[in-house]
């Protein structure tokens, strides 16, 4: 299949997409340029989120249902720092990422000893607690009133307000995250993660410190999520506890499952397809049914797992494993 070839040569494909993205704001699209740009900014934002989440279930093989908690932590870190200290975005992004990593470590260190399912549930409980705290601790977060009036980011004193400026900004962020994630994937740490995913006991026997690598994966994933949240707060200029509900975790999980869990190219493609799809649905569906779009995400999860568990662009090693298993079967 074509997509499988794409999985082997993602570079060319994404180089093309990247070029297209850079040219995009200048293409003649009539009056809809800004609309398209906003949708694509959202899509790229979710690409970053998905790349971050992918590290835990995709690379390390642990289901993380609490990812959106870190997204929320990042967004509120960014919003509060911007409002109370009038901090620059370039300081906020790393600080938010750091805060995400801190919470990721705090949560991960004790809970990652647990077996997979329990861990998923604890992470879920954590993200719900984050939302509860945001909603109820009015002195800090203004609770359900949300946090309005976050100042826009600026470069050399020039405030970013236009859609294409944000689009380029998030493309740069994506590039950074992409470099980090691909380098991690090919590093010693990445190999340890894959070993854990394939077989924890075998990995441990080969000298992989399970807890250390799991916590590392979790913290890095959390920091990417928090950074995306920080960008989101600066972009949207308003944040509200309801934006960080469990649904978002599911949506992001859906992106990576659909695109191909563990595969960086697949993860990005999943976001690129499903997020604009949601916008199309917003235009097509009547107002009342719009919330039912999650129905489609649920179906996507179920159907992908049923008929194409490796996703659109399968992870290379998954293919290798499949081939190996087929050979083994022949022997027997």
């Amino acid at each position: 299949m074509d997509l499988e070839r794409l999985g082997k040569h993602p570079r060319l494909f994404f180089l093309g997409l990247g070029l297209l993205a850079i040219l995009l704001p200048w293409l003649p699209m009539g009056g809809s340029t800004n609309y398209v740009l906003r949708i694509l900014t959202t899509a790229v934002l979710y690409m970053i989120l998905a790349l971050g989440l992918n590290i835990v279930p995709g690379f390390t093989g642990l289901l993380d249902l609490g990812y959106v908690g870190f997204y929320g932590i990042g967004a509120y870190t960014s919003g509060l720092l911007a409002i109370h200290y009038d901090m620059s975005m370039w300081l906020i992004l790393p600080l938010a990422a750091l805060n995400g990593a801190l919470w990721g470590t705090l949560l991960g260190a004790p809970t990652l000893r647990l077996t997979g399912d329990y861990f998923a549930i604890v992470a879920f409980g954590f993200s719900e607690l984050v939302v509860l705290v945001i909603r109820n601790d009015l002195w800090l977060t203004r609770g359900p009133m949300g946090l309005p009036g976050i100042s826009p980011p600026s470069i050399f004193g020039h405030p970013l307000t236009r859609d294409w400026e944000f689009f380029y900004l998030i493309l740069i962020l994506l590039l950074i995250v992409l470099v980090v994630v691909t380098r991690l994937q090919d590093s010693r740490v990445g190999r340890a993660w894959f070993a854990i995913r394939e077989d924890e006991i075998a990995a441990q026997c080969s000298g992989v410190n399970l807890i250390r690598y799991k916590v590392t994966a979790f913290a890095i994933s959390a920091s990417i999520g928090a950074m995306a949240g920080a960008f989101y707060a600066k972009w949207f200029k308003f944040i509200h506890p309801d934006m960080f509900k469990f649904w978002e975790s599911i949506l992001i999980l859906c992106l990576i499952v659909f695109g191909g869990m563990g595969s960086i190219a697949g993860t990005m493609l999943g976001a690129l397809i499903l997020i604009p799809l949601s916008e199309v649905l917003r235009a097509v569906l009547p107002q009342g049914l719009f919330s039912a779009r999650y129905l489609i995400y649920g179906l996507v999860l179920v159907l992908t797992m049923r008929w194409r568990p490796e996703g659109l662009i399968p992870f290379e090693r998954a293919q290798a494993r499949k081939a190996w298993l087929a050979k083994e079967r022949l022997k027997i």
């Binding site: 409980g125 006991i201 129905l295």
Partner: protein
Amino acid sequence: MVNGITLGGVYALIAVGYTMVYGVIQLINFAHGEIYMLGAFLAYSMVTVLGLPFLAAFILTILICSGFGIILDFIAYRPLRKAPRLAALITAIGMSIFLQNLGMMIWGSQIKSYPRDVLPEIFSKTAWNVGDVTLSWLQIFMLVITIVSMAILHLVIHRTRIGTAMRAVSQDKTTSALMGIGVNRVISFTFAVGSAMGGMAGILVGLYYNAIFPTMGYIAGIKAFAAAVLGGIGSVPGAMLGGGVLGIAEVIGAGYISSEYRDGISYAVMIAVILFKPAGLIGRQIGEKA
């Protein structure tokens, strides 16, 4: 306190469904909370649209729910029996989201309540009034139903052939199959019983709070799961105990600490239990690769 016990009984009913399924196929059936929601809404539709008497609707709903559990297993989980556990877990989440939104499409997202006039009158009357403690007939009804169904469940698991088969499958699927147990049939049965309990709990809670809504399954499901974990997942008496403890903890916590963090208390209890006593209060230790 009485409220806590009633609530706990309902959590226990839902928790039993989680724990049984987990015991048999080691899967957290996230869609279980949605069956509970469907139960509440099916009964509502039967009472309002079809005009059935309440008891008939109650029984019919339970039957439909158990059928639904079997179908759920058949279409969603059975094809993945040999797949990695992560795949089944993701499918379960997908089913849960799907069903929840399906409910929203069918019944709308508004909160609905059972019309007073179709319910047996006795429910709204007070049975006892001892000091500050009021006990309504509805609460008694709930408690009795919970206790009776738990007792029946206990008998089924420990005294019947299918119960013995269930226990065997939960210990070792392959060996059970070798002993001539139809493993898939047992799993279907487990789903049926668990879903029946879940649907029943849905109706009871709908009556108790006088409010049903499509997302009710999500929070209740999580709390029931917390109860199941608290008691020790895979253990049926554990689920009962966990449900009771959680219900009481929640009511007391909401009363004395803060009612805004009512849901938070369950999560906190759950996280604490998973961290410090992952096998639960009376569960057996689960090996790393069971």
